[in-house]
Amino acid sequence: MSEAAEATEGYAEAPPIALEAGLAMVALLVAALVGYGWALGFHLDNAHNGLIAASFAAVGLYVVRMRPRHREGWLLVAVGVVSAVMFFGRQYGRVAGPLPGASWIGWIGVWPLPLAIALFGWAFMAFPHGRMLSLRWRRAGVTMVAVAALMATMSALWPVDHDRIGLVSSHPFDLPGAAVVGRLWPYLLPNYTLFQVLWTAAVVVRLRRARGDEARQMRWVVYATVMAMVVLVTGLVVFGSSVPGLLAVPLIPVAAGIAILKYRLYDIDPVINKTLVIGFLVLVVTVGYVGIVVGVGALIPVGSGWLSLLTTAVVAVAFEPLRRRAQRLADRLVYGHRATPYEALSQLSAQLDEAPEDLLDGIAATIANAIGATEVVVWVGEETHLLPQAGWPRRPDPPESSGLGELDRGPHRHVRPVVHHGTVLGAITLRKPVGEALTPGEARLLGDLLAQTGLVIAQQQQAQELQAAARRIVTAQDAARRRIERDLHDGAQQRLVTMGLELGSLEEQAKATGAPELAARVRAVRSQLLEATAELRELARGLHPMVLTQSGLEPALRMLADRSAIPSRLTVALAGRLPPEVETTAYYVVSEALTNAARHSGAGVVTVEIVKVAAGLQVQVSDDGCGGARQGVGSGLQGLQDRLAAVGATLSLDSPVGGGTRIRTVLPCV
């Protein structure tokens, strides 16, 4: 089972009762420990344990209730439970006039600390799926836990960490070697710092590697952690109190819970962006204000009223440019840096391999990425009449056509004509964020990209002209064939049947006048004439099947199927007539495919399926013959391909040796 599948796995309905009961027991235990702990008094230096216990347990239990197999959820629960035990132990152990068993219960509140820290670190490193990044990271994590276990054991056996907590009872054990261990202990404490470095490194590495959903999940927790730290530092610096930081601790598990369960619903990026901007501004304004009030006030003896006025003016003037810079910085941090010229050009050439119809969209995106534009529109056409052909972002309501001179130049808009061999082939309009000018470097890059755009538009126009020419040729050819068929029908064929009629009359007369020899000769001539008309009829039918224009595709295909040299199964799912060139092309595709099948495949049956799909008319002919058909010059398929290309369709051929042949195409029609 993959991580993602595991992470999203939940119950369709209610969780099983056993799990519900288990989770409820854990919840009750944590609630009892924390609740009773609080009731025993307030100690600021232990309050964080209570908060961690309550918040991590609550979020963790909620996560595992929703996603019972989610390892991260269980890790959060574990952190919560351990913290709850420690919290309670410390609260209990501090009540004066020792409560019963205070020595042991207090002891339980002390020694698990290294383990709790390691567990917290593990949960952090394994976020968001509960798995380490790699085996190496896992080994580092295991080492961390082993060191923590060693420290916990020492702390459990000797009172190395006992006195710091302020418990009223003493350590329950009195083992020899306390002095040695006590001297050794301070050398172990830096391990906590190492743990922090380790898990910070793990989060940074994961953040850099993460893509998509995982990256979004990571940002939630990193944001919450950073915010909690900012609140802690601000609280310590400004208010000299750790209470604000303490209260911010639950942010972390809550963010983790949101990231695990709701990461597709809410996006943290805009929040981070705005926080960065506002934070920077608050900092700068505060520093500036303090600087001016303190600095200027010390130098020039003016009234405090004037000083405030001056400060406000300076701040007002400096605010907008500062905000812009802060915004740009924040954009760069949150949304990534803009493409360098080299990246932009290599991105463009990578896109040149893509489908030609999407090329201009790709160019628009590349320009937006490279120049940092908020909107890019690619216009194609003549100087006086330009049509919006592509854009980034794609707009549901594309702008109207316009001449080059009338394109919206606006304050933050830039208009550049696309010129190829001295002719205007189009234009590019782009909009920069408010207050951002086009730098000389960006202007140069835009020039390069414009030249590429010119090439692409010219090439697309050539391709379009080529296809239009091919379509004209095919249409003209079809028209010529129809005309010849009509001429034959009204001319030669009509004359021949009239001659047959006369010969018939002649034969009757010869019989009636008693000239049987003459009658026999007339009959012989007449039968030759009938053969000639039959041949001419088949010729005319081959030129253009009248039934196709007369009655439509289905009767025409049935006629083909009736004449097929291989048994055929024909399925036509059509309502009504289609455009003539579509019907004609479909007819020739089937005709050619049936002929090919009869000639080369040795098939027992050939299946023809005609069905209307969203993209157009799908024509599929498959046989159960020997396969191995090849596309290429000289094959009948080449002619079909050319014909299909003229109407903007492609032929797909699937013909494994021994596996039958299947040709398929979708003829575009509206």
Binding site: R486, Q494, V497, S505, A534, S551
Partner: protein, 215 residues
């Protein structure tokens, strides 16, 4: 027997009118298009109409459209359609929409004058005539599991003639056998092919044509 002839080609039309007169028909009028034919039949209904299928203005299936209109107001007029091509879907339409007294032949058939005259008379008498080329094309169609392989040569011949619209008496005459023998053949054919057909002759033609097309 009174006949109206319709065809946009004047030579053919005139020629046909002349030879029909020679073999004893009375050609009352001639028409150049479907619309003109309908008008003439309204004015003076004949016993039978002989019309080209593809005529002005659209050169599509104006003949059939005109025939359908004539049938709606003059159900006793026999309808003989001629064409340079004979198409199965047209034949099926004629059998489905027209209650007998209808024929569908290649134009070439007019050159065998006696046979053509006989076919026209059969249509006028309410029978059905389907071109033999169309029938033989359907019978010789390549099939995956050919049910016709079950039939003997004689039964196959009977099937083809039935599809062309021959009555039991016509079949007996054509095959030089007694009507009783013909009935036996027909029973065999229908049993072997699993066909069911109504009493009416054109229903039988329709059933056979549909069978041949579908199998």
């Amino acid at each position: 027997m009174r006949v109206i002839v319709a065809d946009d080609a004047v030579l053919f039309r005139e020629g046909m009118a002349r030879i029909l007169t020679e073999v004893g028909f009375e050609v009352t009028r001639q028409a150049r298009s479907g619309a003109e034919l309908v008008r003439q039949v309204r004015r003076d209904p004949p016993d039978v109409v002989i019309t080209d299928l593809r005529m002005p203005p659209g050169f599509a299936d104006e003949g059939i459209e005109a025939a359908a209109e004539i049938r709606s107001f003059a159900p006793d007029v026999g309808l003989m359609l001629l064409s340079q091509y004979v198409e199965v879907h047209h034949a099926l339409r004629l059998m489905e929409e027209f209650d007998g007294a209808v024929g569908y032949l290649l134009k070439d058939r007019v050159s065998v004058l006696s046979a053509f005259a006989a076919d026209v008379r059969r249509v006028a008498a309410g029978h059905v005539v389907i071109d033999q080329e169309l029938v033989s094309r359907l019978i010789s169609r390549r099939r995956e599991r050919d049910p016709l392989a079950e039939l003997s040569d004689r039964e196959r011949q009977v099937l083809a003639l039935m599809a062309q619209g021959l009555t039991n008496a016509g079949l007996a005459e054509e095959l030089f056998v007694s009507p009783k023998t013909v009935e036996g053949y027909i029973r065999n054919v229908f049993t072997k092919l699993g066909l069911h057909a109504g009493e009416r002759e054109h229903r039988r033609v329709l059933a056979v044509l549909q069978f041949l097309r579908q199998q």
